[in-house]
């Protein structure tokens, strides 16, 4: 990467020109602005005239960064200037300089000010993601953007553009554990106005989260994550959704031994379009569920091109082992003991030693409870601890019931928030306008609401009318 600004020729800011004077005056006001009212300040920053005055002075604007504008005191101004200067810097070949300034912004910037300028932060994060990849700085950028994601989210459950960019960079740099840690956190809200998040960010976040889970062999979570891509509302079928469905089929085979069903919340149009696109993968799934290794091998060979085109050859290669595991797991319902030679014969393996190695791998992974008697060449399938022992079973049921109760509370709280949100009330009102019947007088429910019987409903109504 390029070193500091002194070695790079940037257009200087000429204070004798009108543009130069305007820009320096703007910067001075930014530096002195009272940051107690950050929202109004952010509005001033986003004002068209401010942005134009910065863009008119060209790349010299960033020379000001580090002179008149410093971190963390003037984080919002820093973000504004960097947001405007990015295309200029990129055009003039100073991408490395932009990356360095952006990393400084996200690493050292004041969190409160970053939260006040979500659109700037989102745009800078997306640009940083692209440029960092090309410069081989994905790992450094990921760390800084993860900090920005935590800083700029309106609440800990909210998704931001920074989350999506961090997930992308994490997968690019093979920091799968970090991406999975981010995906494991309780993120379920999308607030575009407050976070700068767009539909593409939602799709990309869940897609890359799925890729990271698959890399760490967390197949169930990967399948769920790819399902989230399919249920994200969007105007048209996207390339991300098509790629996610291909991954989802293979991950579901690894997790559950069968292809996934289309999520209920996915649109029918999308489901129909996807069916055509993923036909090669559907054929692989059909061969997998036959538990016939020859059929699977033939299907994988036949769909080699489709797998290579989707960069899924490596994942598909794991299907053989997964199918063998399914066969062995199937044997547990029929046999209590079986010889390793018989297992090898059923699986078409070369020797009993190969069968023993396979059973050992399954026990090591925790997928199977079995005991290998190497002396006699026999495998004994054991009962699951939790079902064999009533005390352990009760403990397990107690913990599941507790978790289910907590989940039910959380869902009830979220449902109430959604139903009583001004947007939902407004939507219901607009629908009801078309279905008003001629009723005379006030309804009982109306009287109850007006009388304050449900204060929350009345408040939600009042807030919705402010926007109408």
């Amino acid at each position: 990467m390029a070193s500091d600004a002194g070695e790079i020729k940037l257009d200087p800011v000429n204070p004798r020109t009108e543009n130069g004077r305007q820009f320096l005056d703007t910067v001075s006001r930014m530096a002195q602005a009272d940051l107690r009212d950050l929202h109004r300040y952010a509005g001033m920053l986003a004002h068209k005239a401010t942005l134009e005055s910065i863009s008119r002075v060209g790349s010299g604007a960033v020379v000001v960064l580090g002179e008149a504008i410093s971190l963390p005191e003037h984080t919002a101004s820093y973000a504004c200037i960097l947001y405007t200067a990015e295309p200029i810097l990129h055009r003039q070949g100073h991408t490395a300089l932009f990356v360095r300034f952006a990393l400084s912004l996200f690493s050292e910037g004041d969190r409160r000010q970053l939260r006040a300028v979500p659109a700037f932060v989102a745009s800078i994060a997306r640009a940083l993601g692209q440029h960092a990849r090309s410069l081989g700085a994905a790992s450094a950028a990921m760390r800084a953007i993860t900090r920005a994601a935590e800083a700029t989210a309106p609440n800990p459950h909210c998704l931001t553009a920074c989350h999506a960019v961090a997930a992308m960079l994490g997968c690019d740099g093979k920091h799968y554990r970090e991406v999975c840690a981010m995906a494991d956190s309780d993120i379920f809200e999308v607030l575009p106005a407050a976070s700068g998040c767009q539909v593409e960010d939602v799709l990309c976040f869940y897609y890359y989260a799925g890729v990271a889970y698959a890399a760490l062999k967390k197949w169930s979570k990967a399948t769920d994550s790819f399902s989230m891509v399919l249920v994200t509302p969007s105007a048209a079928l996207s390339a991300v959704a098509m790629a996610a469905e291909r991954w989802r089929i293979l991950c579901s085979l690894m997790a559950a031994g069968k292809p996934p069903s289309m999520p209920v919340a996915a649109s029918q149009g999308m489901a129909r379009s996807l069916a055509d696109d993923v036909r090669p993968f559907t054929r692989i799934a059909e061969a997998f569920v036959t538990l016939n290794p020859t059929a699977l091998a033939e299907a994988l060979k036949a769909e080699e091109e489709a797998l290579a085109a989707s960069s899924l050859t490596g994942l598909a290669a794991q299907l053989h082992r997964a199918q063998q595991a399914r066969v062995i797991l199937g044997l547990t319902s029929t046999f209590v003991t079986i010889t390793t030679a018989e297992i090898a014969e059923k699986l078409g393996l070369g020797s009993a030693a190969d069968a023993e190695a396979l059973v050992f791998d399954l026990v090591r992974a925790g997928t199977l409870r079995a005991s290998i008697d190497q002396e006699r060449g026999v495998v004994s399938f054991l009962d699951d601890d939790a079902t064999a022992d009533p005390a352990m079973l009760v403990k397990r049921v107690e913990s599941l019931v507790g978790a289910a109760a907590a989940l039910a509370d959380a869902i009830a709280t979220r449902e109430r928030d959604v139903v009583l949100s001004p947007d939902c009330v407004k939507h219901a009102t607009m629908r009801a306008r078309g279905r008003v019947s001629a009723e005379a007088g006030r309804s009982g429910a109306m009287a109850a609401a007006a009388g304050g019987a449900d204060a929350d409903v009345a408040e939600a109504m009042r807030r919705s009318t402010l926007d109408m």
Binding site: P390, V394, A445, V457, R462
Partner: protein
Amino acid sequence: MLAVTTAGNKGDVAAMGRAAARLEQSLEYLSMKAGDQGTVVGAIIVAELAQGGLEAARFAWRRAGAKARESRDAQTAWELTKCLWRHDNAAFFAAVPEVACSAALKSGIRAAAQQVRESTLQVVGRAYSSIALADLASRTGLSAEATKEEAVRRGWAVGGGFVRPAAASADASAGAAAPAVDVAALDRLTEYVCALERPSAAPDAVAVGEKALTAVAQARARGEQLA
């Protein structure tokens, strides 16, 4: 870089791994010499192996740049990772004493070897009711005598050239006694099942909320004045 080598020389493998991971994700890493980058990569790999993170070790190699991979430290760490990836414990333990790497990584490699041995013995204890002594010795990188001593220390039976781990053989032995029935636990389980099968008497909060909203929306559409 100093933090990495200092922690490694002190034998603090976890701290070495954390320092190396932080360095790898900084801009400073990009301008380091190839040898130093390789040491950072090697430190990350060795720290992961010492904590049983075989996948993370593999990914650390895969994201390393070409010049980092050429360094001695990175190559040594990767060769050890490859042995474990192929489940070739014998090759892994044979390579450990002969490793050619910096002093900072050596203690990490010794810790990794200890971790691999311990986890192998635990898995063998779960998976086998009898295993050949020679086989167990090659998996743990110990001599036959040392393996026998380790097995006896764990309470496993040894005889006839075979080792019989205690836990697995107890489970698999014919006529093993069933666990004593805890009547109180069964009572509680029965109550849970009955409660789950009983239909819920609580009102459907969502349906009530929807009704209220619809009524309010209809009233507003009629132009009624709201309090």
